[in-house]
Structure formats: C-alpha cells, structure tokens
C-alpha cells in the first residue's frame, strides 16, 4: 500500500519539496485524483528505491503553485495535469495553456469527475495555442 509521508499545504509545499532535492531525492512524478470535493495531488520522490509521497489537498478553483522552478522535470507533469484536470498551475516555466496533450478540439479537462463545476478556466480554453 502507498504511504503518504506528509500532508503539505499550498503555503509550505515549495519549501518542503525544495528541502528534499539537495538530499538527492529524485522527482518521480505527480498524480492528480479528483475526489469530487477537492483534488488530491501526490508528489512522488525516490531515494534508493524508497518512495516518498507528499499529499496536497487542493480546493477546486484554487491555483496550484508550480514547482517547475525548483524541479524542472515537474514541468511536463504540471502541464499534463492542467490539461486533463483543468487545475490552473501558476508560475509554470513554460505554459502550454491546456494544449500539452489535448488538441484544440478535444473536450476540455476530461479527467474531472463533474465537468463544469471543477474550476473556472473558461479564458484558457479560448487562448490555447494551436497544436
């Protein structure tokens, strides 16, 4: 079973993640789960084959601070989460504006359980770049 090592908040997440990286923790990936009332965002790191998982409970509609500034490989995962869940990620080093994986005519935020009430990203649908 997966163990959540620590529950983090928007306020302390950058500090907590930044403290892992100098200790040679490798960024594995992030996992987003829509649990209807909010999003669970898991940050997975590896050290000597041991997985460390940090959990962020993100309210629907809240912006997610990007960690791509301190952890470059997170950039593609954050863009993917922005595409699929409609979570607005702020401070991305490179923002694909909801068209990292999805084509311009694809359904928006397909992984949201209740489309339309999850987040307000109407403006990004209109401004997305072309594939």
């Amino acid at each position: 079973m997966m163990t959540v090592n620590e529950v983090i908040t928007i306020d302390n997440m950058i500090e907590k993640i930044a403290s892992l990286l100098p200790r040679h923790y490798r960024f594995v990936t992030m996992t987003a789960v829509d649990v209807d009332t909010h999003f669970d965002l898991y940050y997975h790191f590896d050290l000597d084959y041991e997985l460390t998982t940090l959990l962020l409970k993100l309210d629907k509609g809240a912006k997610l601070p990007s960690i791509s500034g301190i952890c470059p490989p997170a950039l593609v995962v954050e863009n993917e989460i922005q595409d699929l869940f409609g979570i607005v990620v702020s401070g991305l080093n490179l923002d694909y504006r909801d068209h990292f994986l999805l084509a311009t005519d694809a359904p928006a935020r397909p992984f949201c359980r209740v489309p339309g009430v999850s987040v307000s990203i109407v403006e990004t649908e209109k401004t997305g770049g072309e594939k």
């Binding site: 990936t29 898991y42 084959y49 997985l51 998982t53 470059p72 490989p73 593609v76 490179l94 397909p110």
Partner: protein, 358 residues
Amino acid sequence: MSMVIPFGPQHPVLPEPIQLRLSLQEERVTSALPVLGYIHRGLEKLAEEKDFQQDAYLVERVCGICSFIHSMCYCQGIEELMDLKVPPRAQYLRVVWSELHRMHSHLLATGLLADAFGFENLFMQLWRTREHVMDAMEYTTGARIMLGSCCIGGVRKDINEEQKKFVLDKLNTVEKDLKVLLPVLLEDYSVKKRLVGIGMLDQLTARERGAVGPTARGSGLAMDHRMTGYCAYGELGFEPVVENGCDSYARTQVRAGELLQSIDLVRRALDRLPDSELKVPFKGNPPAGEVVIRAEQPRGEVFYFLKSSGKDKLDRLRVRTPTFANLSPLLAMLTGCTLPDVAVIILSVDPCVSCTER
C-alpha cells in the same frame, strides 16, 4: 542567423510522431520545445470505465513494444491491493517474458539508432536478430508483442519442455549474432564518430532532471528497479549495467550490455523454473486503498498508481512511463548540439511516444 525548425512529427528517423521545435543559431540548437498530443488516446480515463480485470488487457496496449511489462506492473499492483501471493513458477515466467521484451526492444532501438546515423546494413542485421526473439515469444504465448500471458494472480500460460528448448535455441542464435554485431555497433570508427561525445548528460543533470533507464545508467547512475528484487529478480541475482561516458555512445553501451544480460537472465530463469501452480484464484473486487507499483522497462522505470474504492472499477489509474521521465533530460541534451546530431540524440534515448501520451 536564428530560426525555428519544426523537427517532426513526421520525420524519417522518428518511429512515432513527436515534434520538437528547435530554436537554432546557425547550426546550433539553443533550445528545444516538445509538442505532444498527436497520439493521445486517454487510456487512463478509459481504465476508469473498464473493470479491474479488463484493465489488465487495456494497459498492455499502452505500449506496442514493452506491453508485457505494463500488464505485469498493473497486475502486481492489484495483487498488492488484494494481498495475493503469486506462485513461484509464475514469478519466473514473468521474468522470462519481461527479459524477452527487453531484448526485442533494445534490438529495435539500436537498429533505429543505426538507421539514424546512416548504417542501414547494421539496422537490418539487428532487426533480423530481433525476429528470433519475436519467434521465441510467439512460440511460448502465441503472440509476438501483445502476449496477453500475464493475469492477476499469476500467468495465463506455461512454458513446457519443448518450448523451453525452442527458446534456448533462439537465445543461442541471438547470442551468436550479437557476437558479430555488437563489436560493429561499439567499435566501428564511423559509429563512434556519430555517438561519442554527442548528447552529453552529466550525472548531476541526469539526477536533477529525473532520468531513468539506460539514459540514467549511461550517465553513471546505478539505478535499475530490478535491484528491488520484484518477481524472481531477487533470487536470480542482478547487477545493473552502468557506463560513465554520459553520451549517446554510453547509452548504446548500456543497451548492448543489457542484451547479453537478458540472455543470461532468461537462461537462468528457465533453468531454475520451479514447479507450482500458475496463478492463485481470487474472488471479489480489490479493497479500497491506494498502491504505487514500479518496474523496470527497457526504457527505464515505469510507475503505476492505482486507487480503488472497493468497486469493480478503479477510481484512478495513473501511468508514468519512462519516456515521459526522459523528456526533460532529452531537452537538456539537445541544448547546445548541432542540427545533424538531433536525430541521433533523440534515438539514443529510445523514445516511445505512444507510451508517453497514453
């Protein structure tokens, strides 16, 4: 003069569609921007619509190259959720098919690399050798890629004495071929000219960028998930192949070493194949909970996150494939290289785009 060149999605050296928008200053790449989404299929979403047993077939179709390891990794996750103990024979058979997959994938990758730097004869020879591995898979499972032999609780098919002999004969043929081909791949002057010092990825950058598989091991990181001893790897004994060159040549050396290592692993697994049931029966749905399972694919570590709420359908299935992890290191390698080296560098990472996009 600066310009932006779209490299792909349709390009002679790219086996699958991905675009890299290359910013160039004269012939030198100053930055690369990946553009994905040409073959995004939404398999993670589809997995939430199928029941957990159908998902074992579905995840096998995430990738058309390392399909068996996807289904094995997923099954291991469900087995952990349901607390199922897989019989020893099934564990050994999983190693056999995993390593056969690794061999055919590495032969495919090195063949494509040879094609990228213009050595077409070597490309054809490597792919001809790959056919023997495909034959071994076909003879033992009835399929060449989508084996369908892994199931929750064990494996669906056995390997009998006649099949074992066939596989061992094929391995002898492959080993004989590799004794001729690998020296060409690793020693030929023109090959070295195209690979040595090209696509540098130092160890620190590889770690910071989250590189996995031969991409990480070619940069001196002794990182291979088989070291955790899943399936029967713990009993068979295993040491990762590591090179310190940090370039395209080092990554090719790692794959060459792993080809021979896989032959050895399959032989030892078949030799020690224990007698037992092939799978354990189970009833009901996976209990509520979350599990993370990782395994070593030909391109590196694959990551599965499964969340169950006790129903027949999973709440969430998340796959992070090795090529997805190697995207960031690839961009680091491309920055500063010259345009003719771009194709070689991309193929030295052995990208699998359908895996990446799912």
